[in-house]
Symmetry: D2
Subunit: 336 residues, 4 copies
């Protein structure tokens, strides 16, 4: 951590700051310049509160050199984390996964039929929304606990592990037999929820917030890991930018970037990223080519009648075609 001291700071003030830094168990390098002086903090600064230092009147600004995250940091854990689901499906460390299914769970028939289709096309996890975050109070809010029951029925029938979203701590009671708990983009910094998930013994799929930086996404994963749960996947699902022709801007660079700084598996959600079904195939292929560990794809046996988020759902035949192309790219990646 580098602290830039204002020109007008008195020696006494600088001395007080130095003493405080030393009291935190850190060493100091001090360099006096004509217009500014620099204080370099040496040691583990991951728990030093930048804003506290920034608050001092003698400080012009503070630059962090060391990452503020530890448990998710690849520097301290160079090997890839591999998550193994109950049925043996592995995610990360070279194991590729496709999680597919309807945006919203509506009926048992719809979910089971879709599950069979996606399994036949090569998906290894079934996704589906039971608790639904909707920006309008007048939109369909999901089937809730009943939706999870339907997903579990589909799991029983097809053998596919399931992933579904949690929206608040007290819903955790419904997730006992869910294989992967998803945290939606709008809840990425719902810290109370993250704390609860840190105490759970289940893999978590953490979606990047609409305007969350890589560092904030990693810090939210750090919350879960700090709570004791080390099975976290990060999911790029598009960010909010000035471009409005697509619902979000899919940040494909997040895939190789995050893989370079963390050991956690990286998943991509091409369905939500653009919000248009005709973009799902090219974005799936792009994410795969960029080295992603898995994809989350919306498939609906009748997208024209889906109750929510229909625009980005693929039909089973289109999903099959997309999956085939994805697998071909995966094959090449192992060669190149």
């Amino acid at each position: 951590m580098i602290i830039k001291i204002k020109h007008e700071a008195s020696e006494v003030q600088i001395e007080q700051l130095k003493n405080w830094i030393k009291s935190q168990g850190l060493s100091i390098y001090f360099s006096e310049g004509e217009h500014n002086s620099i204080l370099g903090l040496i040691g583990d600064t991951s728990q030093v509160d930048e804003s506290l230092i920034n608050a001092l009147e003698i400080v012009e600004n503070v630059v962090r050199i060391q990452e503020p995250y530890k448990k998710v940091n690849r520097k301290f854990h160079p090997e890839d984390t591999v998550i193994t689901l109950e049925n043996g499906t592995k995610i990360g460390g070279g194991n590729f996964v496709i999680m597919a299914g309807p945006c919203s769970v509506e009926t048992e028939e719809q979910v089971i039929e879709t599950a069979k289709h996606v399994k036949a096309s090569g998906a290894n996890v079934l996704r589906g929304g039971a608790f639904k975050p909707r920006s309008s109070p007048y939109s369909f809010q999901g089937l809730g606990a009943k939706g999870i029951e339907i997903l579990l029925k589909a799991k029983e029938v097809t053998g596919l592990p399931i992933v579904t979203e949690i929206m608040e701590p007290k819903q955790i009671i419904y997730f006992e037999h869910v294989d992967i708990i998803q945290v939606g983009a709008r809840n990425m910094q719902n810290f109370e929820l993250l704390k609860v998930l840190g105490a759970v013994d289940k893999p978590i799929l953490l979606k990047r917030g609409l305007s969350a930086t890589y560092e904030e996404l990693l810090m939210s994963a750090e919350y879960i890991m700090a709570g004791g749960n080390s099975e976290v996947m990060l999911c790029e699902r598009g960010i909010r930018t000035f471009e409005k022709a697509t619902r979000n801007t899919f940040d494909v660079t997040a895939i190789p970037y995050l893989k370079s700084v963390t050991h956690l598996p990286i998943i991509a959600d091409p369905s939500h990223a653009a919000g248009m079904h005709k973009m799902v195939k090219p974005l799936s292929l792009a994410a795969t080519a960029a080295g992603v560990d898995g994809l989350l794809i919306e498939v609906h046996n009748d997208p024209e009648r889906a109750l929510c988020d229909g625009p980005q759902s693929l039909k089973p035949e289109k999903f099959d075609d997309t999956a085939k192309a994805i697998f071909k790219i995966r094959e090449i990646l192992s060669e190149v």
Copy 2:
């Protein structure tokens, strides 16, 4: 709502869509063009799900003409909402309020001392953080329920109503004697929390999310009002943009814009907007001149030792100077 139909749509498909629209109780205007046809929906479309229509293969895109919010809409409720606190303090409809106090509640002495100072300078509500959303699991997480007790003590001593933040539904039990419940930017779309607050009989101060549009902010207020609680204030606190020299970009236009489309009081938080105490005064004056109904300002009796968010806290003397300038601008506004 205007639906742009693709050139290749068949007559049968268009007919099906028209029938569905009519089944929703809406009338239709249809215009056939060379490259696209247009379907106009006439009637109350506020509860029509855009994405559902967008999902149809024959649809190129959908444009909403009518606002999706009703209860917060000034069109249906032209007069300003005026919120009256227990002690008679009014907010909105020409009544100006300053909510001031420490970012984090630390000690009884700190809070009471600060409360006395801000009251003397003209503040009419005491603010202070008890439950604190922090992006790092390693940062101080606030005193929680104990912090609210301290705030209530300060309320008793000074007579100032208090505003403090809630982070999850189950914390509601601690808010019985709190005057205004604040929803933080990161929870603006925590829909489960909004639903709980819709059932509460207390004013809500709803902060705009980091990358929330005006419409999304209004829709979150609509959640609370749809639940039965009509005492909602909206708070502009800076948005996330490409500019990183300041922590956020204070969107001062939100003030006159929101006031033109909703009847709810608009509050501004100049402390969090820039994240630098030297910006608090100019931004407070700017917000006031732009017509805001109230300000939320961090004041700390010892900002150099604040446990969190110190950089944006003002010292009591600076707050006093800022408040004086704010009141002068308020005076002028009534004349111009």
Copy 3:
């Protein structure tokens, strides 16, 4: 075009507006609602000035239904544009191109050596910067005309067509033997330059501005085409967002999106997008998998000594490895 009329508009005012619209050769559909009335404009509205209508006091807002661009619009020109360079190299319509070379032209030796390398690896166009846009007046500004001479020497030696950037109209005299003229991101809306390029008989590579929407990029291409030059390629090179870990955010969705709305070839620049050489390979593969028509890749025979933009340059060996992987993905795409 849909015009939303305010409730308070008088019949006389609405009548005046209707007459003006008819005077523009357009028909009108009028729908009166309880809170707003709607005026729909029927006919070719691509040359109607939205802002002019928006200016009227009785207008609440205006929504454009028809695209404002014509010549670049795939609706009016369904087949892909194929650009053929002097030496027969084709771009677009299924023809894939790699443009590679140094960011800055420095010495004849450097450029020729790099050109030979990239040709051997499969590149079919040589890129290199002669006139360099630099954000600091103190940075190296490029060799200018001398740099173009060096590129032409390399073209002579290797037979590779060349692409290089123009920065202002009067530089056009140096581009006589250049094969493709590049317009940089910062000049995407330098309309005087675009007008000059509209009168040139050479292919133009138009880079997307840092915060340009798809529509603005298309409108800038429309400027060139409206001037009479129909050989335009569009280049996605990363946009500016809140994320600062990478220099820009590579908007991979731009590739399939633009290809769906325009017939012009789409190129991607993975080197500038992230600004890190370790991201060039994954982003090149992602862009290829997303269906791009060509790539612009920085390669430097000695990136550690490059005078500018070094961080994103690949070494020849790495470029060779990247090109091999790109070609493998191209092969698959033809099958899937």
Copy 4:
């Protein structure tokens, strides 16, 4: 400048880097850590090319501590720059200016009439667009040189100095009698134009680019000052963000922020910022309250018939009312 060295760097590589740094006339501080080593550069680093260093394989990243701009930096020039126009009007250093007039120059009558109106309301500079940057090739492109003649006629009649926009270097011949040359947002990084303006003996009004950071704006001013012209004003005119309800997001914080880091006068353009005339008054008051040195306001004697950018133009009576309120706030500011 702080260079973070990768763990895997060899001693030889680090030594080479140190030698290169010393060859630039800089001293070094070196600190070896467990996971990273840090190289601190001591001395004047404003002309060191960050990207060059970033290019080195052993470098993880580079952080600049010193600002890259010198001539515009308040640290090296603490007193405010005051610009004096030909007729004695002063800008900056406590001197407040209102530049008002039509967006587009259309007719002599229109401009002269508007000029008289705005002068009567207290404006001290006449603005008007002759060369117009338009995103569509089909929009009215301005009267060009003829428009400047009209402005000069209005100057003659009213005595008001004039400000108008230049779009490319060769237009400079028309600006001989123009008092202030404006550079539009889209040309903020048209470096060839900035170089030409650096050689001119006239004040420049430099508008912030749509997505330009404060630092980039300051660097563009540095280009002009480095060329020898020290009379530069910076203009905040709204930035591009995710919010689309307003045309741009007016970044009011830019005013106090820029004033703290540069000695140049800061102007605000509330007309373009929001793109709605009803926002012009509140934004003008907000900018004034935030301490701006001047305002650029569009006024049109007949905004309902303006050929361009009509939505944000005020009518003369509304401008008069706005100006009165602005002056009242200016009065208060001198007291508070």
